[in-house]
């Protein structure tokens, strides 16, 4: 057995260089080197994503276009970017939303959460748990399970289409309201589909419960940050909460996302109380699990997930729990809309003035901040955007550092698999967040205003 041979031969130096990790969104590299004595010499998480300079793209653009431009930061979380962006613009101009618009926006976010979590758990992580390179072979070996995942994914996309026009770069969201609203019939059908999907979700949860032993049991305590609210499992808005720090209003996000240099890496990382922090489904679960919907709590129990969970690999399990919560909460919100009846609403006229605004939304991968400064003609003077994955980079690095020594006795393939699984568990969205790493050993300057796209 190759693994056995490696343990027996003491002079084996192991070099793992995963160029462009697969089954993650965007481009990232894992570099690990372990010497013959099992000491980890190198351990790096690198992000060579091409910069697109969204800051430059936004300069001078009208507030009417901003959310459509930032939507293109990411294909998977485009709804999240639009919502956070609109929140910032509406905060800046003092635009207030009707209850109907608010409910529709929360539904849009739930739809995105569902789509992204199912894609991640089912298409990107499940192959590792079943020992295959992708979902493609599962069509033959695990047809029923794959069709279950695909069916839920299709439902999530239809959900997005019903609420905001399409999943990727939707067209209906506008500052202050909606360009088009669904009909009552659309919503009735959607509600029924969501209710009918709950058994499939339970089946998915049972599948992950059965495969849970394949997930590495690795623990590393860190700070968990996410939006919190006293009345609901915070997704659309809230204050910034933390397991190790006091709550803050979202306009103080910069106090949280502070950066520092580390000697063994050239990328700057974000830290708050400790050396790194984690955002995403696991953080939200750790902060807000009491406010999950009843079935979501059942799924958490089934998966034996309890706060505060310090295994980053279990982020995927937290996503499964959240998917069930999003479904149940959406049914409630749809009920609300159907009871009150949908109304065609006109968006109130915006009074242009120089202003600043902040938006914070929990997108599938964590807290997304957008902050804008507008001039008196309603055009962007300055834009700032802090991506969840960006906030996770330091935590990924720290986790890798803690994980690598425990893998020293394994083969290169095993180390490659487990470190890749660690990165995948974070569900990183790397084209949203880039740290352009300079490999010549000099510290890289952070993007001054706009974060790394």
């Amino acid at each position: 057995m190759k693994e056995f041979e490696t343990i027996l031969s003491p002079s084996a130096v192991k070099k793992i260089n995963v160029h462009h990790v697969s089954r993650v969104e965007g481009h990232g590299n894992i570099v690990v080197e372990i010497d013959a004595d099992g000491v980890v010499k190198t351990c790096r998480w690198e992000v060579p994503e091409a910069p697109r300079f969204f800051e430059a793209m936004l300069l001078g653009r009208s507030y009417l276009d901003v959310h459509q431009i930032v939507s293109r930061i990411c294909g998977i979380c485009s709804i999240g970017h639009q919502l956070s962006s609109l929140q910032a613009t509406e905060d800046a101009f003092g635009i207030r939303l009707s209850e109907q618009t608010l409910t529709l926006r929360k539904l849009a976010l739930h739809a995105e959460n569902l789509q992204s979590h199912i894609l991640h758990a089912g298409y990107l992580v499940l192959p590792d748990l079943l020992g295959v390179p992708s979902v493609i072979p599962l069509a033959g070996t695990h047809t029923k399970e794959l069709l279950c995942v695909v069916g839920l994914h299709r439902l999530a996309n239809e959900f997005s289409r019903t609420i905001c026009g399409r999943t990727t770069h939707p067209q209906r969201l506008i500052p202050g309201g909606m360009g088009k609203i669904p009909t009552a019939d659309d919503l009735k059908k959607l509600k029924k589909s969501l209710e009918d999907s709950l058994p499939s979700f339970m089946a998915l949860a049972e599948l992950f419960a059965a495969l849970k032993h394949k997930i590495p049991s690795f623990q590393r305590e860190t700070e968990y940050i996410g939006l919190v609210s006293p009345t609901e499992y915070a997704l659309y808005w809230g204050q910034i909460g933390s397991t190790q720090d006091k709550q803050r209003p979202t306009c103080f996000y910069k106090d949280l996302t502070r950066e520092y240099c580390v000697p063994q890496s050239t990328a700057k990382f974000a830290k708050n109380v400790g050396e790194s922090y984690l955002v995403g489904a696991l953080a939200r679960f750790n902060l807000n699990s009491e406010l999950l919907s009843p079935k979501a709590k059942k799924v958490a129990a089934l998966l034996d997930l309890k706060p505060v969970c310090t295994n980053p690999f279990y982020n995927t399990l937290a996503q499964v729990v959240e998917a069930v919560h999003s479904t149940e909460d959406s049914i409630k919100l749809l009920d609300n809309l159907l009871t009150r009846g949908l109304k065609l609403e006109t968006v109130e006229a915006v009074k242009l003035r120089a202003c600043k605004g902040y938006g914070a939304v929990e997108v599938p991968r964590g807290t997304l901040f957008h902050a804008y400064e507008y001039d008196d003609t309603g055009r962007i003077l300055r834009a700032d955007c802090v991506i969840p994955t960006n906030q996770n980079h330091a935590n990924i690095q720290k986790d890798l550092e803690a994980l690598a020594p425990t893998l020293a006795h394994l083969s290169e393939q095993e180390i490659e698999l487990q470190t890749s699984m660690l990165v995948r568990a974070y569900d990183p969205c790397i084209s949203c967040s880039t740290h352009v790493i300079d490999l010549t050993g000099q510290p890289a300057e952070p993007f001054v205003r706009f974060v790394r796209v």
Binding site: S22, R23, E25, A50, P51, R52, F53, E55, A56, M57, L59, R61, S62, D65, Q68, I69, R72, C74, G75, I76, S78, L119, Y123, L124, P127, P133, S134, V135, I136, A139, L146, L147, V150, G151, H153, R154, N157, G165, R166, T167, T168, H169, P170, Q171, R172, I174, M178, G179, K180, S420, S431, V436, D438, Q442, A444, E445, F447, V448, R449, F450
Partner: protein, 249 residues
């Protein structure tokens, strides 16, 4: 039995939204996979399984010299190369940054280390290598993607409509944006999307690129006189997706 055609997906500077549309084929994806062998698709598949490709699909624009090298390598290994999505086909949103002085924003963002991060004006794939076909849109329409893939595998030249979006708007019965006092680039944009954005209550932003023989001079007059846009507003609208064309900018 002949080998299944080998197809591969690669991406550069983009949002991966177009590759997501492939995953969004849902059950149809399994049907497509019955006819082709996916040998590289980093977003969902670990590993590369071939040194050559029958069709290589490229998403995203080229924004730095290192990407050109990678792209040319892929081109050398592919029988057919398809640019899919607006960023790859026409440059897309990425070209918005081309209107700012590059030295200024690079300096601002990178400070005195700017020279370590070479980037240049964003450009579509066809600016660097020969492109055999394109799947337009931001994001792409997945039924169009399947149709074009089928046509390529059958050895046909893929069909793309040569008329503007206006035709499709009328087909679905939308009220013309100009009748509502709003602008719309459907007048010069290539059809094929079913006028989806107008149908969803928005306007056409031109993400599929210019229709052949689009009358840009007349379009500018229409935007000024019917929609009442100022020159700056017209420029803004055109630059969203048409930043790499000869549209009046």
């Amino acid at each position: 039995m002949a080998d299944k055609p080998k197809i591969a997906f690669f991406d550069f500077a983009g949002c991966e939204g177009d590759q997501l549309q492939i995953a969004n084929l849902e059950e149809d994806l399994l049907a497509v996979l019955g006819h082709v062998e996916v040998v590289a698709f980093r977003e969902i598949l670990t590993g590369e399984y071939s040194d050559t490709y029958d069709i290589a699909f490229i998403e995203g624009s080229i924004t730095r010299p290192a990407d050109e090298i990678r792209l040319k390598e892929i081109r050398a290994k592919s029988k057919l190369l398809v640019a899919f999505g607006a960023c790859a086909a026409i440059g897309g949103i990425n070209c918005l940054k081309n209107f700012h002085d590059e030295s200024v924003y690079r300096q601002e963002v990178y400070g005195d280390r700017a020279h370590w991060y070479p980037t240049y004006p964003a450009r579509p794939i066809k600016a660097v290598v020969k492109v055999d076909a394109e799947v337009p849109g931001c994001p792409i329409d997945r039924t169009e993607f399947v149709r074009i893939t089928k046509e390529l595998l059958l050895g046909k030249e893929p069909y793309l409509p040569r008329h503007p979006v206006c035709v499709e708007c009328k087909q679905v019965g939308n009220i013309c944006r100009y009748d509502l006092g709003r602008p719309c680039l459907g007048i010069i944009t290539r059809a094929g999307c079913g006028a989806c954005c107008v149908t969803e209550g928005a306007i056409c932003w031109g993400c599929r690129g210019l229709a052949p023989y689009a009358n840009l001079d007349a379009a500018r007059v229409v935007l000024e006189e019917r929609a009442g846009l100022s020159r700056i507003e017209i420029q803004d609208l055109m630059r969203l997706y048409l930043g790499y064309t000869s549209a009046p900018l």
